[in-house]
Symmetry: C3
Subunit: 658 residues, 3 copies
């Protein structure tokens, strides 16, 4: 199968979405000149071009795109060609209202924005296939074409009648019989037993709480329908260009897609990443998404979209201070990206995203934004020969699973005071602050490569996953597990005892009497730290080798943290420093070392291949000890034993001469 | 007519909802064993069993229920049999979409949850009657059957076309002519005059404020339609088992039902009660609901549902700390309950309520929850011979009325900074903290049995009710009345002067110039206390015998509290301690005594029949003076003059030997 | 054309909406007596009378209105007759559901409230015209009739199919060709190119952000459709009574109508004004609305509605403290009103507005409210001969435009932390506190009469408007301009450079690198003051004559305020005192003087014609220096050099004897 390296060819792809339909053709030539000055070597065309390419049903206008493809080729800029199916033209909805999605309340989502398509609409799928076929046939042999980008940010739902029909078919495939479905959904409760497949509905508006397994399956179904849409288009382009890789861009920590499963269907894993420039933990959020994407890609990956400046969908959309775009872009390279791209090249003057920044902002070529984009292009060119294609070693795996997230996020759960991503971030932050590079893994993956495995929270686990965790520990692995893990099975059926018996045995828990969720502003005092979000009334079975206890309150003296050999259970979320120190200690015991010791606060260190990336997230200069003599690829300076990083400074060091 | 005592027979019913459809039959036998160990003597079956009992239209499967009824009987456990009509099977909505309710915005409430039935649907009513008839016919003679429980928590609305038809019929019954309706609704304003009954709609979405009397009548209609549904099923079961009592469970302080009127249609008044274990006033909230339910029952009542641990519909669902389930259960007995039941026996492993606790929690028989349930069963057995059937004496009545609540809760009112229940709770709290046992009464009830009558807030009063209050005072009664009382008549028509003239005369008010609502964080200083929520610009007529004045601000020197003989008017809500002390003084003057003097903070005292219940709502031990020599029924200890209550401790003392 | 003075005839109109349908005829006679006692000389009849006047389609009942008109005439009270078309009778919606509006989500707005009409419904327009024709024909010659009031508070939307049809027609008129529409809307982005007029929709619910120019045009269309409804009724009444003026009442700062354009279609500009009595800036809000209405009227205007006490649509509806109604009413006269009217005469006892105050409150004639109304009537009678018809001189214009507001208020903008009216109010407040009387003007108006022009924020400006501003400065005018001005053109297309190049040149800005919106609680330190809401990364071109810089943070040392000659640009919102002082200084330099120097805090001074109004917005007495000898028209006292104003005190002084 084709891979990202077939497109990068030891370069780092640099560029972004280019929507030239918005500009007169004379602007295209200025664009290309600015692209070349900035070292741009890749643009994505076609993402929102359906109406332009097929202005009336079946009538195509490819001339303008032909000219663009030729222009790009003539200037040495590769083209990632997008199927334009995320934004159907107005005529599709007008002629075929069955292509429009319905929300939970039955309301139609009309055209006039984007993504007004039902994943379940046969008519939509037929038209999407047709435009994909036409584009693939036309451009298969074009020398500018380097990759396919199918659709854009798959994220839609549909609760309409055609979705209902497909949902029933999907359920029939999953369960075979109504008896099996009734058992899985627990329909014996609340008189929900289905006697006919035709009675089953999407997760539509109800008077009170919905059946949670119906909701869970509807989310699975939604992810699968979107994946069917993707796969259908992928298969078309693959038929025409079997040598070129295909991708679609994920939204990070987006709940709508089981990205583990999707990644298996992609040649290249790509992601969109938009941390808030004001978020003090923005860099950590970036690292998390980068680690997760790299793990899905099992190697180099593509940063498909980021913003050179502000986005336009937050309450207050902050620009990136001087240097931040470069810093965060190089962080992505450090964590395995072989492509650094943006939405979009030139900032729109009209339409819904005209206040979302571009590589060329409203201020134009003399604006700070483009000037920094140009500098970054030069930096990437220096790094590419050394970094592209290399891998990021990680001794620790963080387990994550969409199905568990979906199952645990239901209405009628014990606490709405936190969401799963909050917990995932808190644990990744602890590892990141301890300078421990981590992969992400699915709970059924082979965990043996890792010295330690961390489970922030896996509310629902299959039997296979539970056995995988137990076997990992029995095989010598170290496991650290957060609360609300192993509560349910894959049907969202609570395990007897409220937590899987195998896990309870693993951690030394006899009885889980009650869950004690904490209020938003509440903490639980423990020996040596305070916990938040959650606490538990646990009765240990006496086999634990180490216990941290709750202090005061109703749980006084009961275990907050239990360790039994190499298996740790945390029934609360320790405060950040405590979780960081605990994980650092556990990792050290397991043989997982931080990237570098003695790093000053705010400096991130990552090894990629032979390189050591040092990234300074602060504004005041800091000095970093780096024993030995290195070369800094960005400055070509020799660094011996220590170096100073200025505001948002980055150094990329070769291995010390030995 | 049959009564609760026909079922209890000097026992206290103990048990709860049992939904065995969720479990394999072998679990039923374990359940019965655990029930017996815990002293459970009553279970409610069938609440959510419609789909199981009638899996296809007209096709019944009673075998499993037959076996359960027999099993219960064989183990001495009585069965409260529920008609399963609150949760229709999927086939009903699928075959008959006219059974589904529509909300105010026209959105359908689909099946997949529960309570997806329109009270106005003729098709629904026909199917509900049929399954009720089939169950009643089959189990009328079963020896396990002790009571009927119709439907569950009636709480639905419908704004659809069939509801519109019934609403018009209901209005025709109420008003006779369109002229009368137009007069009552004040349709002369905003050009709303109706010329044809067919023009009248349910209270559907409008551009701006709705006609308030239309909304009020729609709430009355909704309560009445639900009551029609109840009565139809009640009449069916009564025909088969005229000797057995019938109930349906209220939700406490639920705004949807005029429970005064409903209670008249029930043989047994039952209620569901779920105070938040974290609410510092949870015990007071329980006392309020218990007092209200007892008053509706005019004697012993049934606690149909409570939770042994957490519920699953709050933001954070807190478990009950050790001892709290027992304390609050015995509080219900103290305040007149002859039945202490739960939703549900065994916690679900699947479905929407799997995180709502059960008497047997996920932790099973060894869990703390079941262990405490077992202890409580033993306690109830000790109390039953002495307590069951006896009454709770109360010298004070708090007036409450749903129609007034509905009328006062409209959009376009003077203040949304408080809701009626807040005011009701504040007044009951003051009485509860003064250890004054209170009944609730309807404003048209005979009030002569009471030494004092308290009106927290009755925004709308009929002429009959106003005359009743005036006559009560003239007949020697003491009346304490809160603000926003007597403002409107039963059509929500403001009384001339903004307050009924008879009441103004009663309190010594010449002119009510303006209402001065307070902001959420605002207080009004008065001589000796501060008020909240409300204040008024009152001009007295000079007949008052006592006046407390506002201090400072625009109302400086105007009366905040007026007393004219035995009639008191409070134009603001005094701070808790001030309201408590004022009511204690007024009650004392009227001859209503607290249950016990000198009680330490946090200790509640209630007399029921010959017994004195002492309930300690704190965690640190306290000593209580109880002059004389008593026997504590729970410990069988002799108590002389004083006793100590530990954490959540309860003592139930016999009358002192004289 | 007829004018307001044709109705006032040197009087100040005093009175309000009178909805006598609510009362028995005997009450009418009491009303007239109380009106006469209070000096009421004008009432508005018919606003909500459609159902009463046309109880069945085509069947009229005018008898009651005949009697009322006669009664008013007999008592010397003029009648402003309203077409009753804002509240259609139930039969209209019932017989013609096509008259009902649909919201963005497709939900019907039913009758049962008011304003349940679609502006686009041909059926509605036909029925509205018919009742208007019937009323005009009947009362054209009635001696009581003094003015026409069309409809009431036009404020509705419709997203239904008939609105879609009219929207397409409106767009065709605006753009001529689809190419022009596609260019204006920027449909090249997101694949929104329209190939057929029939594909175009109202701004209905979409999955993600809507096309902003579609939304902008839909707002323009909505304003224009409502204006078509108004004009159709106006033309009918004008045909019958060409000598009488016609008005419709605006809601102040209501976003739904382009009031500049509407005002051109009215003979009299009238407005409804409801500041919150608790708002510390309520008087300033009143002044703003009064200045804006006067500017639309280009002379005396009509205060159509205010409240004598509380309204009923806030969270807590506060009454007016003693004296406030008089103070705010006289403020309106000071700022040019020749009519002081209320909604409504007698407070309703029923219906949705029964807690909205009336001139006669629930307390009746002895209530404080009516007593103060009576006093005010006497005051107005004293002022009328001197004030009516005179003008208010203003040296400064504040520019305001609805299209710019609409364009800037879109989803997907840079900051939702403030709304345009907040900015407008902040700037007007600064001028008001500096005692600088200001007009409002449209950005394309002739600005040459003004010594200084202030632009709080005009996000979108036409080329004509930009040229107008530049020419104004070139012609010697002084311009002070706030941030986010000149960003877009009239299609909401961002100007190259993010700000119009002509304006950048005017202010001395080379490059606008980035916008830096501030968070809600954030400030930006500048030399001498702090700014809020916004900041900018500006690169000056070196031509500025004065610069205030940011201090600290990312923008340290960059210009916050730039002055180039007589053109000022403020890239942040200075704190209130700083903005006040800056504008005072700029105004002084430009020759615009405050009304009076040395005024104590809280005292407002306004000149109207020969009169000096002094309005004291505080409760403690203050002394004001007024050099010379004057007569106070309210007290007939002679005032020499100074006077004392008590709580909410007002003095209206003649020019000093020279």
């Amino acid at each position: 199968m084709p891979r990202l390296s077939d497109t990068t060819r030891r370069r780092i792809l640099y560029g972004g979405d280019y929507n030239p339909e918005q500009w007169p053709e004379e602007t295209w030539h200025e664009d290309v000149r600015l692209m070349r000055d900035a070292g741009v070597n890749s643009v994505t065309l076609g993402v929102f071009s359906w109406a332009k390419l097929e202005p009336r049903p079946g009538v195509h206008d490819f001339g303008w795109l032909d000219r663009l493809m030729d222009l790009m080729h003539a200037n040495g800029i590769g083209v990632v060609l997008a199927t334009p199916t995320s934004a159907p033209p107005p005529w599709l909805g007008h002629l075929h209202p069955d292509t429009l999605p319905r929300d939970e309340d039955g309301r139609t989502e009309w055209w006039g924005g984007r993504q007004h398509f039902s994943h379940s609409s046969t008519t939509y799928r037929r038209h999407a296939a047709a435009i994909t076929e036409a584009m693939a046939a036309r451009y298969a042999g074009h020398p500018a074409l380097t990759m396919w980008h199918v659709n854009n940010e798959y994220c839609t739902y549909d609760h309409g009648d055609e979705a209902a029909t497909r949902f029933r078919r999907w359920l029939r495939d999953r369960y075979g019989t109504l008896d099996a479905l009734n058992a899985a959904w627990g329909t014996a409760f609340w008189s929900q037993g289905y006697g006919d497949w035709a009675e089953i509905l999407p997760a539509r508006r109800t008077h009170y709480l919905k059946n949670p397994t119906q909701v869970l399956d509807f989310r699975r179904f939604t992810s699968d329908m979107l994946l069917e849409c993707y796969a259908a288009e992928r298969d078309i382009v693959r038929r025409h260009t079997p040598h070129l890789p295909v991708t679609t861009n994920f939204m990070p920590l987006w709940s709508g897609q089981d990205a583990w499963r999707w990644a298996e269907e992609e040649d290249v894993v790509s992601v969109d990443l938009y941390p808030d420039p004001r978020d003090p933990l923005g860099a950590q959020h970036g690292a998390l998404v980068q680690d997760m994407t790299r793990s899905q890609a099992r190697g180099p990956w593509m940063l498909m979209e980021q913003a050179a400046g502000p986005v336009n969908w937050r309450g207050a959309n902050h620009p990136k201070p001087r240097g931040l775009n470069r810093l965060w872009s190089l962080q992505a390279v450090a964590r395995g990206a072989d492509a650094v791209c943006y939405f979009q090249w030139r900032q729109s003057r009209q339409g819904a995203e005209k206040f979302h920044s571009g590589m060329v902002s409203h201020a134009g070529a003399q604006g700070r934004t483009y000037q920094e984009v140009k500098q970054l292009g030069a930096d990437l060119a220096k790094l590419a020969p050394h970094a592209a294609g290399s891998t990021v070693p990680a001794g620790i795996a963080v387990l994550h699973d969409w199905h568990s997230w979906w199952a645990g996020a239901q209405d009628g759960r014990l606490s709405t005071r936190f969401d799963y991503p909050d917990v995932l971030r808190a644990w990744h932050r602890a590892l990141w602050e301890a300078h421990l590079t981590t992969d992400f893994a699915h709970p059924e993956h082979d965990l043996s490569p890792y010295k330690a495995v961390v489970v922030p929270q896996l509310y629902a686990l299959t039997d296979t996953a539970v056995d995988n965790l137990v076997a990992y520990v029995r095989g010598g692995g170290t496991l650290v597990c957060g609360f609300l893990t192993g509560v349910a099975d894959e049907d969202d059926r609570v395990r007897p005892g409220g937590m899987d018996a195998r896990l309870r045995e693993l951690f030394g828990i006899r009885t889980l009497h009650e869950w004690w969720p904490l209020e938003a502003d509440e903490t639980a005092a423990c020996d040596g730290f305070w916990g938040s979000l959650w606490s538990e009334e646990l009765e240990p079975d006496g086999t634990a080798t180490e216990t941290v206890r709750y202090k005061g309150g109703e749980l006084d003296g009961l275990p907050a943290v239990l360790r039994k050999g190499r298996a740790w259970y945390l029934s609360t979320l320790p405060e950040p420093a405590a979780l960081r120190d605990l994980l650092a200690r556990v990792a050290a015991d397991a043989g997982a070392r931080p990237v570098l010791d003695g790093l000053p606060a705010g400096v991130e260190a990552v090894r990629r291949g032979d390189l050591l990336f040092l990234l300074h997230h602060g504004r005041d200069p800091v000095t970093v000890d780096v024993p030995g003599t290195h070369r800094d690829l960005l400055t070509d300076a020799t660094v011996t034993d220590r170096l100073t990083l200025g505001r948002y400074g980055v150094a990329v060091l070769t291995e010390p001469a030995s």
